[in-house]
Amino acid sequence: MANAFFANWRQNIIYIGFVVIFVVFAVTLNDKGFLNPNNLLNIVRQTAMIAVMAIAITFVLSAGEIDLSVGAVAGLTTVTVAMAISAGGPFAGVGAGIATGLAVGMFNGWLTTRIGIPSFLTTLAMMGIAKGVAMWISATAAVPILSRNYSWVFGGGNIGPVPVLLIWMVLFGCIGHLVLRRSGFGRRVLATGGGETAARYSGIDTDNIKFKVLVISSCAAAFAGMLYAGRLQSGRFQLGEGDELSVIAAAVLGGTSLFGGKGTVIGTIVGALMIGLINNGLILMGLEFSQQLIARGGIIILAVALSQKRS
């Protein structure tokens, strides 16, 4: 009985941790407006992009692969979307965004499954390529987005008090959760990461699964880029820079295994929110950026260490 509780305690550390941190911040930072609804919605706004990418990377990690290119792909997409909007309007922008994600994802998947380069290297290289392309086509300048409608739908708008970003995040979360938990595809993803040989012996085309998760990841990164572009009404190559670390941290904090076979979309969303929460709290505390980095790293190490099962 005690053992079962212990296992549960470790498994659920992310939820416990989330509540603990929230309560600590609520008490200590109350006078600084932490509990102010506007502040809480801001946390959601800042977290949405990370969450969208993290939901997709949950599939990648569950399949035993990794995608380091998500931040750079998001940045590249802000630029392609902004340029397409100024050339052909909001619909062209949406098309350009989706096309960017598909193109990068299929290239990543092709290199990983057909050429046989480990996804770690494929996507590490892609990180540089995507950023380079973004800098090149934008001549390192910000590209403004003048379409109000686009900005409202992708990032800037509110429905009543509810930010559109929150709706996107919830929508992706629901779909991601259902697909990973309940669909045949999700089962195959988990099987591929949990035991590739056994999955292959069971008739699962594991290369095809890996290809698909890498495409999903790039498309989600492109979508996050579309949100960045809408929220900031411009395309800039710097957007999304370094997000890959927050994205992977969110998934791992949430209980997804870096080694495949185990993943949870809900955990990932809570993980992403927790990172946003920590960032917000540390800013309200008045810490300098350097101190924020150190504190954030320390909290993440602590959370992951607590969730590790010792043999």
Binding site: L178, G194, T197, Y201, I204
Partner: protein, 524 residues
């Protein structure tokens, strides 16, 4: 030097693993300057006693003396310090390092600056290979070597420790006949220098040529130690097989009603093995594949299941030619493989019983892409009940189950695909005796219910209990195709089932050994 001091004296060694007694008061004495064969069937306790001598396992009771000095600490380090060296059947080489780097791993040569001197290691490795009179380049990367050269590197690694006691576990498995000859020359040289050699092999003819004395174990007990001159091959086999009474002989075999041909292979070959196999499997039949490690039985199973597709030949199912290029092709054709490496090929240990059981039928259980949760649970419950899987629930991780129950999960996964043809590759490896006879019974039942079964097992008694027909394989080829009745000894009364099984096992052993020799003739 006192010649009467034994190189190794193990007295009253017992060892149990979780209630299962692997060794029961075993005595072994190996003299200096002799090649001592250690013989026994699967599960006889050979590898356990070797692991104890090597310091990998600690004995529950008993004493070990090495050259008259008691070995009190049971660690790999202590055994090594006492002068014991062993080659490992499962390669202990690091593929990315060179041959010389592997041989001297953790004992690297140093130059005067204290830095690692690879050139010196290569020189010393070359000397060892020169002694062995084999051509292995010390500078080559292990991953680039063939199986035989890797095996020689393993042996060189063991020899390089200046061992007083050298343990060779199946050293000839991957060697060509000419290499085995060289190995023997070298072993005789070591012997004359007073090194004691413990030699483990399933190849009786080899034992007869190289060993001075032999110790035979059976079911964890010492059976006999005698000079080879008093142990002709037939006698050895008799001692190895012993009296079988462990639950298998009471499995009803019945007579199979042979139906239409389900699976037919014409001249099927793989990349390396199998080599030009033709066979037919009928409805209601259990076809056994007998042979030693590396005889191509599992390779044939992987070809049939589409894991390593055939390079040549034709396969037909129910009279229709089929193309099997990947596992899903085989599943589509109604073929299921219960693979030999359960932990990696059969199950996903961290996933639930349900996830594992439904893995091969996710598509069938899905509606519009989503898995029908109730159908999946029902299917799992049905299989759990049918196979009597002992699990706390269908949601428990398969890793929490015992070996026998894990195997049942794998079998359940494949029964869920409703196959016509089932291939069982070592289905009882590493599982307890109770589950073993359950699985053998299940194999019979499946055949009786109109399926065709191919069974691979190194436990001959199981093969003889389960099968209607047995193919004897060696070197990737089929050497004999014999009905089960060919192994019956008519002089043994029919109602003495234990005795009958034992007699049949001896005959099958002899056939397997004969197939080995058949392979050596054209080469030698």
């Amino acid at each position: 030097m006192n010649a009467t001091i034994a190189a190794v004296r193990m007295k009253g060694i017992s060892k149990a693993f979780g209630g299962v007694r692997a060794l029961d008061r075993v005595d072994i004495e190996v003299l200096r300057g002799e090649v001592h064969a250690l013989l026994g069937g699967n599960g006889a306790g050979k590898s356990t006693i070797l692991k104890i001598l090597n310091g990998i396992h600690r004995p529950d009771e008993g004493t070990i003396d090495v050259l008259g000095v008691p070995l009190t600490t049971h660690t790999a380090e202590a055994s090594r310090a006492a002068g014991i060296a062993m080659n490992f059947q499962e390669m202990s080489l690091i593929p990315t390092l060179t041959v010389a780097q592997n041989i001297f791993l953790t004992r690297e040569s140093r130059d005067r600056m204290g830095l690692i001197d690879d050139a010196d290691a290569e020189r010393r490795a070359a000397e060892i290979f020169a002694l062995l009179e084999v051509a292995v380049d010390p500078k080559s990367i292990v991953a680039d070597l063939g199986a035989g050269q890797k095996q020689l590197t393993e042996i060189a690694k063991a020899i390089s420790r200046d061992a007083k006691v050298l343990i060779l576990d199946e050293p000839s498995t991957a060697l060509a006949v000419s290499d085995v000859e060289r190995l023997f020359v070298f072993l005789r040289k070591l012997k004359s220098e007073g090194v004691a050699i413990i030699y483990v092999s399933h190849r009786m003819d080899e034992i007869a040529r190289i060993a001075d004395r032999a110790t035979i174990l059976r079911d964890g007990r010492h059976v006999i130690t005698a000079p080879l001159s008093e142990l002709p091959i037939d006698t050895m086999i008799e001692h190895i097989v012993g009296k079988r009474s462990k639950g298998l002989s009471d499995v009803e075999r019945g007579t199979a009603v042979k139906g239409e041909v389900l699976l037919e292979l014409h001249g099927v070959s793989g990349a390396h093995k199998p080599d030009n196999i033709s066979l037919s499997l009928h409805r209601g039949e259990v076809l056994g594949l007998a042979g030693l490690l590396g005889s191509g039985r599992s390779a044939l199973a992987r070809v049939i299941a589409g894991i390593e597709p055939a390079r040549a030949g034709r396969i037909s199912v129910k009279g229709r030619p089929v193309t099997i290029r990947k596992p899903s092709d085989a599943i589509g054709a109604g073929i299921a493989l219960v693979p030999e490496a359960r932990a990696t090929q059969g199950i996903i240990p961290s996933h639930s019983v349900e996830s594992n059981m439904t893995l091969a039928v996710i598509g069938r259980l899905s509606k519009a892409g989503f898995v029908d949760g109730k159908a999946a649970s029902d299917l799992t419950d049905t299989q759990i009940k049918r196979l009597a899987v002992k699990t706390a629930s269908r949601d428990h991780a398969v890793s929490t189950l015992s070996g026998g129950n894990q195997q049942k999960v794998v079998i359940g996964k494949w029964l869920a695909t409703d196959p016509d043809i089932l291939v069982f590759d070592e289905p009882t490896a590493g599982i307890d005796i109770g589950s073993k006879s359950e699985i053998i019974r299940l194999v019979r039942e499946l055949a009786a219910s109109g399926k065709g079964v191919i069974m691979i097992s190194s436990e001959l008694s199981e093969l003889l209990t389960a099968c209607d027909r047995i193919l004897v394989m060696s070197d990737g080829r089929v050497h004999q195709d014999l009905p089960r009745s060919a192994f019956d000894d008519s002089t043994v009364p029919a109602d003495d089932t234990a005795h009958r099984l034992q007699a049949a096992e001896q005959r099958l052993q002899i056939e397997i050994q004969r197939a080995l020799k058949a392979k050596e003739v054209p080469r030698g």
